[in-house]
Symmetry: C2
Subunit: 163 residues, 2 copies
DNA sequence: GCATAATGGTTGAGAATGTAACCATCAACG
DNA sequence: CGTTGATGGTTACATTCTCAACCATTATGC
């Protein structure tokens, strides 16, 4: 059988399964698209980020980031301020309302993930983490432990989209 | 940091990274969408399949399967024949041209995947496989080893789509 | 300095997708 | 049998995404 042992297929399948439960939370309960949710999370983790920095962190194509930022700004959850040195860039940051919104969504997301993984033993969790860590090192994921990108300042180009 | 250790995020990220290279093959080089490619693979592995069977195997929503089948039929890669007993169902199967097309694409896909994983040692590959297998058991993936769905004939409802 | 290229970010057109509604057929039940 | 409900599959409409082009601004080369 060709497809079942095929790594991209397995990862896409599992990504879909794990995203199913959490998607309902940010989407149906809080009216956020996935790009908006990811941008929200990343802005909550940093004081302010430019669109390019968000593209690398999210990771998503710049058009999706741009539209997500516009939507969040229209909601009053994000403000953008131009840079003094380089007038092309804009630094986006959460407003107080945006941070409150994130703090409302976050525990629901964490609870959903925890509930999903509840049946796993400690050893199984370790196996999952180890397996994913191998792939993250392979692709030089910025936040991965043991990745080369951490020490050297230069990161890979971010991926654009799945398919 | 919230997002980096968050399982759906990690899986989506890795799914995107691993899909990047292979997507270019079926998409740009062979003009197939992802639903079309997946349907093609599954039809190549079985003599004939109904749309419902494909939905369970692919796994994708029936509208995507329906449109993928129409597109492949328009290309002359697939034919559909009505069932004698139940006139609602149609059995789709690859034509000779469809099978040839698949046999052209398959080695390219396998080579791309192999090249991607080339840097990994045998032990690392085993870790990846073990980690993914844990999650596949958790979600009762039909083809997973040790999954409960294999023995019992009843399968889970397939997931619809990521987001 | 002045053309050229590169970069940050946005916009628009067309394709793909999600959702729900919709036919046609079949099964269940009175 | 005739109504009701389930099932296989397609279609329609609205949303989202992709891809390319496009401004504005900043770097680079001469």
């Amino acid at each position: 059988m060709f497809l079942k042992g095929y790594l991209p297929y397995r990862l896409n399948y599992l990504a879909e399964m794990t995203s199913e439960a959490t998607r309902a939370i940010y989407r149906r309960r809080h009216g956020l698209t996935r790009p908006e949710w990811r941008v929200l999370v990343n802005l909550a983790e940093a004081e302010s980020l430019t669109a390019t920095e968000l593209c690398a962190r999210v990771p998503m194509h710049k058009t999706k980031v741009s539209r997500a930022l516009s939507a969040l700004e229209a909601r009053g959850w994000v403000t953008r301020a131009g840079d003094a040195q380089d007038r092309r860039v804009a630094h986006a940051r959460l407003t107080a309302r945006g941070r409150q919104a994130f703090e409302r969504v976050r525990p629901e997301m964490e609870a959903a993930t925890a509930a999903m993984l509840a049946p796993l033993s400690a050893e199984e969790r370790r196996q999952v983490d180890a397996g994913l860590a191998v792939l993250e090192r392979l692709f030089d994921v910025p936040g991965a432990v043991g990745g080369a990108a951490d020490a050297a300042g230069e990161n890979q180009v971010p991926p654009q989209r799945s398919d």
